[in-house]
């Protein structure tokens, strides 16, 4: 029996009005399970044009469906069923016929709840200058992505080794990558799994209807209320590696008869976890949306969402500290305040996003859409700040045994007795010693109490990055002929982001003085130079006393403007598809300093030099331009463009071959372009666009439960710039490394395969990502300190950035020595390549999956990761660091200093089990339990960074590195999800 559902009422009414021209085209078919080829009853079949749902129906008991009265045209047919992965196929209705799609098979869904981005954003890299941002792969139809997408997230796998900025993330057709940094913006909708579940995504170089993208895939979250799965959904989730509980409620109306659609999604995440002490979640996320359909062919959607609350954060530490604490997950950010646990580093956010989207199909050959998107609110991050008092961090290097004693005399750290005292303080794990191993809040308060006039010595600051981001995206899809489609669009962005810090807590004191304490040490004789706000000082005669909530330190706007046109033509001829796309755009940005810093006074409003007590404060750079902190910087402009070609051929039997190639000329981001954005308007010179060439070649096949994908990829990136700001203990300030001319090459293969096993419902999947992601240029570095006008190094070559030499060793009198040639030069055996850090270059998984007809599922998942590398500090790759104080770089020094650390490989075993029950076909409840890292492997390093300080040897002839800091993956963890839907 065929269940016929007549589309939506609106369409029906409209159809009645034009009864005479009632279209006669349609689509029919049967939906079955891919595993058992059994019919799926109650699956929803929707025919879409763009994001608009033209018609829909549900399948009958035998899985069949029929949609009639369709106008001629190309539709995207979306098939959804509870417990199965959503599937999309393109259907062409022509000549008024009912098109028979025969059987359409659906892949059973991974019932394990997808984690949200929380697992990525917890790491605190803020003071390290190194970035750690997620790439999340979505594409439920792809066998590789299915296994690697979330499965590899716990080792912070970066797809093809690409930085997260290269992944284009869209929302309702608007590119959402952060305007200032380029990072992917997942945290904006973190927790809103239901509202953001409907998404379209591409992998690698593929383009999409809503844009052309780069070389690391595109994802568009539909976001509109009508795209949220209709019905009520509730879930309770508890897990031991992120946050304790998540409660989620969701309601979506679907498109109602009156032409309205509503959706609400609320989620609450709270508590800490079993692995990292001192972290917590307290986040409320909400989504509210309403959509109205006007007539047949247009709709207007308005929705808003935010993720608000606060979250305690973890910081990396050195292996020495981890070993003494007996815990690789030790977190130095917390301590007891009058017996109550308190984390100093808390991320506080409220960044609501509001979207107005209009879409229309004025003819069956044309879809149009326009989206206006606004993002505002605040993003704050607390940390300790202090003035003229000891560094409060428990793992400050002077608190560690290694500061007092090293086995190697050449470190000149000889006091073993003193090291013993420090060691005892770190290794006695009783309550009395907690204040040595964690923050001592009580002591900080007491210092502030002791301060004569209430001037706080320790405060908690809150660094803000507050965005005002307005976007407009217009796009058109023109189905010109049966064979040719043209997608095109226009994107514009106006962004103003304010960076500043304010006092979050005076910790028992009554004010904090707005001066630069490092400048105070260097320029004791000139008080004006120590001012963070010179204008205030000059008009009041003293520095401002900052109270709670007051801004201090730095305050500036990043202004960004972007505009872009894009077009992509797709030509289909039989089994052959070709597409050609191009973009052209313009980007500009500038800094607007809101306070005048004493060290970088610049000129006053009348263009005169600024003086204090007869001394000129204004200073000039090497080109004779005044170095300014206040007012507008130069406005560099960049012409951006890109081109993409894609060819695909479908061989008989469903074998698909495709080839993609592209060239991209992208502007640097604001965050990469200033030598010291907190303090001055000076741009990195030699600022230029980043050029990328990329190509991939793919083979795909699926059928009868089998699925295969093979991909080879190659990408060359040229002329990247980067800015790393690293907190330096000795300077008590941020040190900035501005790098230009970074080139990198990404090359490798991706393999994914799935095979059904003889037992009904049992299947085996395997994926492998094998890559080499390396640097291949000698970049140049300019090093500055926030609190000094001096440029420490300018345009210094990073000789050992892309590789470092390994010298040949020979046996000489029973010991291994470096071989020397006839000229007396050491013989280089080979050059060791340096790699893009913090991602395994080798990642593989084998997954055994079993599903029963009674909705049980079991999965066992073995993963292997190797060739992951530590983030490199640029300073260590200079001749300065390799040379030591005597300036002579010996082979031993170069090998020691420049080599990049490789992490040990890791094997992980994960398992999950779940079941769902259906009651009266209407109610569905179930659970899933996911156990990760069942072997409880606690030695898996997922990232880290090198510090930027050097220890001069006893003989003053070489430098030693400070110990690197690492992040580890948590040991065995569980995630239990209970859900109820109707």
């Amino acid at each position: 029996m065929i269940r016929r559902i007549a589309i939506s009422a609106a369409l029906l009414l409209a159809s009645l009005a034009v009864w005479g021209q009632l279209p006669t085209g349609g689509v029919k078919g049967a939906v079955v399970s891919r595993a058992g080829r059994e019919p799926i009853e109650g699956a929803s079949v929707s025919l879409m044009k763009g994001a608009e749902r033209i018609a829909s129906c549900t399948t009958g008991r035998d899985g069949t469906f029929l949609v009639e009265e369709l106008e001629n045209g190309v539709y995207s047919m979306m098939i959804e069923a509870d417990g199965f992965v959503r599937s999309n196929v393109n259907v062409t209705v022509d000549d008024g016929f009912i098109k028979d799609m025969m059987t359409l098979s659906l892949l059973p869904e991974q019932v394990v709840e997808e984690v949200d981005d929380a697992s990525y954003t917890e790491f605190d890299m803020d003071d390290s200058g190194f970035t750690d941002n997620p790439t999340i792969l979505y594409n439920s139809n792809d066998v590789f992505t299915n296994v690697a997408g979330y499965g590899f997230s716990n080792v912070r796998f970066k797809n093809r080794g690409y930085e997260s900025q290269t992944q284009d993330v869209y929302l309702a057709g608007v590119r959402m990558n952060d305007a200032v940094t380029g990072y992917s913006p997942f945290s904006l909708w973190s927790g809103l799994n239901e509202a953001t579940r409907s998404k379209e995504s591409t992998i690698g170089m593929e383009s999409a209807q809503y844009g052309i993208g780069h070389f690391n895939g595109m994802t568009n979250i539909l976001g509109t209320p009508s795209s949220v799965r209709p019905g009520w959904r509730f879930s309770f989730l508890t897990n031991s590696a992120l946050y304790r509980v998540r409660l989620m409620a969701n309601y979506a109306s679907g498109m109602l008869d009156n032409g309205f659609a509503y959706a609400v999604n609320i989620s609450l995440r709270a508590g800490g976890n079993d692995w990292i002490k001192g972290v917590h979640y307290n986040n409320l996320s909400y989504y509210l949306g309403i959509e109205k359909k006007f007539g047949d062919d247009s709709r207007l959607a308005l929705f808003t969402f935010a993720n608000t609350g606060h979250r305690g954060v973890q910081t990396a530490s050195t292996q020495e500290v981890y070993d003494m604490m007996g815990d690789n997950m030790y977190n130095s950010n917390w301590g007891y305040q009058d017996g109550v646990l308190r984390n100093a580093r808390v991320r506080k956010t409220f960044e609501p996003v509001t979207v107005l989207r209009y879409s229309a199909s004025p003819s069956d050959k044309l879809d149009l859409s326009a989206t206006l998107l606004y993002r505002c609110g605040y993003n704050g991050y607390t940390a300790l700040d202090w003035y003229d008092a000891p560094d409060p961090r428990p793992d400050y290097y002077r608190n560690l045994p290694s500061y007092f004693y090293m086995d190697d005399d050449d470190y000149n750290r000889l006091n073993e007795e003193k090291a013993e005292w420090a060691y005892e303080a770190w290794t006695t794990h009783t309550k009395d010693f907690a204040n040595y191993q964690h923050l001592n809040w009580d002591r900080m308060y007491r210092v502030n109490y002791n301060s004569a006039d209430g001037r706080s010595k320790y405060v908690q600051e809150q660094r803000h990055v507050d965005q005002r981001d307005l976007n407009l995206a217009v796009s058109a899809q023109w189905y010109a002929t049966e064979n040719f489609t043209l997608n095109s669009g226009l994107e514009g962005k106006i962004n103003r982001t304010e960076h500043y810090k304010k006092i979050a807590d005076l910790l028992g004191g009554s004010y904090f003085l707005n001066i630069d304490q490092f400048a105070e040490r260097d320029f004791a004789s000139n008080e004006a130079l120590t001012q963070n706000d010179l204008d205030y000082f000059l008009s009041n005669g003293h520095a401002e006393k900052i109270v709670k909530g007051g801004k201090y330190g730095y305050d500036y706007y990043a202004h960004i403007r972007k505009a872009r046109l894009w077009a992509n033509g797709i030509y289909t001829l039989g089994d052959f598809t070709a597409s050609l796309g191009a973009t052209v755009g313009y980007e500009t940005f500038w800094r607007e300093g809101l306070v005048r810093k004493g060290l970088f006074a610049g000129l006053d409003d009348a263009g005169n030099e600024i003086t204090y007590q007869g001394k000129t404060l204004t200073t000039y750079d090497s080109q004779g331009r005044p170095i300014t902190s206040k007012g507008l910087s130069e406005k560099p402009g960049f012409l951006t463009y890109s081109g993409k070609l894609a060819l695909a051929y479908m061989l008989h039997g469903g074998h698909r071959f495709s080839l993609n190639a592209g060239y991209f000329n992208d502007a640097p981001t604001f965050s990469q372009s200033f030598v010291s954005p907190r303090t001055r308007n000076s741009l990195i010179h030699n600022l230029t666009t980043q050029k990328t060439m990329s190509a991939d070649i793919n083979y795909q096949w699926s059928g009868n439960g089998y699925s295969v994908r093979l991909t080879g990829f190659w990408t060359q990136i040229k002329d990247q710039t980067d800015l790393m700001s690293v907190y330096d203990d000795s300077q008590q300030s941020f040190v900035n490394f501005a790098l230009t001319g970074i080139d990198q090459r990404h090359m490798g293969v991706e393999i994914g395969a799935k095979v059904p096993l003889p037992l009904q419902g049992l299947s085996l999947s395997g994926v492998l990502s094998l890559g080499e992601y390396i640097y291949n240029s000698v970049p140049q570095m300019t090093m500055t300190v926030d609190n000094s006008s001096e440029i420490i190094y300018e345009d210094m070559d990073l000789n050992y950035w892309m590789s470092s030499p390994i010298y040949r060793r020979v046996n000489y009198n029973g010991s291994s020595v470096i071989e020397v040639d006839v000229n007396g030069d050491a013989v280089i055996d080979r050059w060791q390549k340096h790699h893009i850090p913090s991602t395994p270059s080798v990642a593989g998984a084998l997954v055994l999956n079993y599903r029963t007809r009674s909705y049980w599922f079991f999965e066992l998942n073995g993963q292997y990761f190797a060739k992951s590398y530590l983030d490199m500090n640029p300073l260590y790759r200079t001749m300065v660091a390799c040379g030591g104080a005597d300036g002579i770089a010996t082979p031993e020094e170069i090998e020691y200093m420049a080599t990049q650390e490789e992490f040990s490989p890791a094997f992980l075993l994960n398992g999950s089990v779940g079941k769902s029950w259906y009651i009266k076909r209407k109610y569905n409840f179930g659970f899933s339990l996911d156990v990760r890292n069942m072997l409880n492997n606690r030695d898996v390093r997922t990232g880290g960074y090198e510090q930027s300080r050097l220890i001069s040897s006893a003989g003053k002839d070489r430098y030693y590195k400070y110990n690197s800091k690492y992040f580890y993956m948590s040991g065995m963890s569980y995630m239990l999800n209970l859900y109820f839907r109707f």
């Binding site: 003229d388 000891p390 006091n415 007795e417 005292w421």
Partner: protein, 364 residues
């Protein structure tokens, strides 16, 4: 009844799950209790400072193996930066430096606070002793052992080490300085044991500027500081230095002004490296620019006369008043100064260290 039982059961569960309570604490309240003020400790001293110093034998640092406790008032502050990482305490018999090894000590131990030192496990040693006719005594100090042999004692530094030996007693008024006359000044071979004013807060009156400074400059402090080619002495004259000391920026100002161009590079009769204006050792410096590249702040000893005795006023280049100009009337000898500070000995000479600029009073 059932309700009560379940409440008890629930609270028992909560108590047993302190970590659960801890992780939800910031969720339910963002407020943290204000910690109470520090409680002061009281110990019974069993030896005076002078007696403790008397137990030191010149040239042999002593790792104290007796349960000795001294008590004294803090007389110095590191707030203006002239004292750094250490403090002085004094009782009626004398004063002694405790090499704490932490910055911002005034935050914990303000002037006038009574400190108790449990000496067992610490090291008593001397800094600044020089033998021979031109030498003399230095200062007996309390610190930790120094296996490197560079000094007789090292800084305590380790927080646990400090907390186990140094105890803050009650706060109090700052110590009254002893006003002493020329005849009460120590001789070259006096120590804290033989002269009660060494290491204590004293006031010297009627001092006259002696038109002489002493300052040791390293061309590159990253290189071996003991090598002659790396050393420049400003001594015997003032070399144009009119500030109490010099910060890094002030150092550059003096250097750039060419005031030191004729100063010889080198020391102890080994001056084969040219002068600051015309250096000849390519390994160390080829120009003023090279010296400038490794500039840093420098301490300066300003020479004064108290009657016939020479007093070196030693001021750190990192102190907040280091770059202050010495009043003209002092420099040209028309004014005298009174100074209050710690009287210390270095190689038999008197080095005087003030806490702040306010401790130098000029009489026109």
């Amino acid at each position: 009844m059932k309700k009560i039982l379940s409440i008890i059961a629930l609270s028992a569960l909560m108590v047993s799950c302190t970590s659960l309570v801890e992780e939800f604490q910031p969720v339910f309240t963002a407020n943290y209790p204000q910690p109470a003020a520090d409680k002061s400790v009281e110990l019974e001293p069993n030896i005076t400072i002078a007696a403790l110093c008397g137990m030191y034998k010149t040239g042999s640092p002593w790792n104290i193996d007796q349960d000795l406790i001294i008590a004294g008032k803090v007389t110095t502050t590191d707030k203006p930066g002239n004292f750094y990482k250490s403090l002085y305490i004094q009782d009626e018999t004398g004063g002694i430096e405790i090499k704490m090894g932490k910055n911002g000590l005034y935050n914990y131990y303000p002037e006038g606070t009574t400190l108790y030192v449990r000496c067992f496990g610490l090291t008593l040693g001397m800094y600044g002793y020089k033998s021979g006719n031109y030498g003399g005594q230095g200062m007996v100090q309390l610190g930790f052992e120094d296996p490197s042999g560079s000094y007789e004692t090292s800084y305590l530094e380790s927080s646990y080490l400090i907390d186990s030996h140094i105890f803050a007693g009650p706060a109090g008024d700052p110590a009254e300085p002893a006003v002493i006359s020329e005849s009460e000044l120590p001789s070259s071979f006096d120590t804290q044991k033989s002269n009660p004013y060494i290491g204590r807060l004293v006031t010297l009156k009627g001092l006259k500027y002696a038109n002489q400074i002493f300052c040791l400059i390293y061309i590159n402090s990253n290189k071996d500081k003991t090598m002659s080619a790396n050393r420049i002495f400003l001594s015997d004259a003032t070399w144009g230095v009119t500030t109490w000391a010099m910060s890094e920026s002030k150092f550059k100002e003096y250097l750039d002004a060419g005031l030191w161009d004729d100063v010889k590079i080198g020391n102890s009769g080994n001056y084969a490296y040219g002068t600051v204006g015309h250096p000849e050792d390519p390994g160390f410096a080829t120009s003023r620019a090279d010296i400038r590249a490794n500039a840093s702040a420098y301490s300066v000893s300003q020479y004064f006369k108290m009657g016939s005795r020479e007093i070196q006023l030693r001021t750190s280049g990192y102190s907040k008043f280091g770059d202050y100009e010495i009043p003209k009337s002092v420099l040209d000898g028309t004014a005298t100064v009174d100074m209050t500070g710690i009287l210390t000995m270095y190689q038999g000479s008197i080095q005087f260290i003030v806490n702040s600029i306010d401790d130098i009073v000029v009489h026109e």
